[in-house]
């Protein structure tokens, strides 16, 4: 759980890094003392609530499910098992983007999730059409 907990700290640190680099007077880059102060400050400013922990546990569960779907996609005996597992992987990716956008408070990632869900559907229909007709054309061969 420790690397998962470090993720919002990293995002907060990157935002704080932009702030420090903007306010550093005269010098081109931040020194290591500046970096140390910045990390301490961001760790104090960013407090993880219980909701963050629940959302990180949910994202970990979604990652576990994505791993299981990839195992089935590699081991599935028929091509339809692989297509099913890839469809499930795409849906879980949409969910993962949604949960991570709420964890890191960057809710503009939801546009990417919406786009990915539509692309997943179109890609799967195209793949099924290819396995049915052996071509992407309009007329069945």
């Amino acid at each position: 759980m420790i690397p998962c907990c470090m993720m919002p700290l990293m995002f907060a640190a990157s935002e704080a890094a932009g702030h420090v680099a903007h306010s550093a007077s005269g010098r081109g880059h931040a020194s290591s003392a500046d970096l140390h102060n910045m990390l301490n400050h961001s760790a104090q400013a960013f407090q993880l609530s219980a909701t963050h922990h629940v959302m990180m546990a949910t994202s970990a569960a979604v990652l576990v499910t994505m791993t299981l779907a990839l195992i089935r996609a590699m081991a599935g005996p028929t091509v339809f098992d692989r297509v099913l597992a890839l469809n499930m992987f795409g849906t879980k990716t949409v969910l993962f983007i949604c949960v991570v956008s709420f964890v890191t408070a960057r809710t503009d990632f939801l546009d990417l999730a919406l786009l990915y869900s539509l692309m997943n559907f179109i890609g799967m229909v195209a793949l099924l059409r290819f396995t049915q007709y052996r071509s992407f054309g309009e007329e069945p061969a």
Binding site: T58, A61, A69, L84, N87, L128
Partner: protein, 120 residues
């Protein structure tokens, strides 16, 4: 506000539970049409509960509208893609097998050989 957060915890944890259950199902179930059931669990219960849990956190904003749009498109596209997959599998001759007993020590090897519609 606290009630909404506690409701969101409940929905998120329930969604994570159903997501993992569907993942175990897609690994362990013995043949293709029963594996589609595992995929359907994650598409309906997992995605629906997690998105409802995030909706409880979002409040009446544009973010909630985007989440509702994602939920709407998932509920439209997931059953249709599942239907197309089952139809395509039936056309290719994958028959549902009843009363299959999984072999005790082979998790990943289903108890039937290669059939029509096999990848290789």
């Amino acid at each position: 506000m606290i009630a909404l957060e506690i409701a969101s915890w409940f929905f998120l944890i329930a969604g994570a539970f159903f997501s993992i259950v569907g993942g175990i199902g897609i690994i362990r179930l013995p043949e293709f049409f029963s594996r589609m059931h595992g995929g359907g669990i994650t598409d309906t219960m997992g995605a629906g509960l997690i998105l409802i849990g995030l909706l409880c956190l979002a409040g009446p904003t544009l973010v909630a509208a985007k989440l509702l749009a994602i939920l709407f498109f998932l509920t439209i596209t997931s059953p249709s893609s599942c239907h197309a997959l089952a139809h395509s599998a039936l056309i290719h001759g994958v028959k549902p097998e009843l009363d299959v007993k999984p072999k005790p020590n082979t998790i990943m090897n289903p108890p039937y050989g290669p059939r029509d519609g096999d990848a290789s």
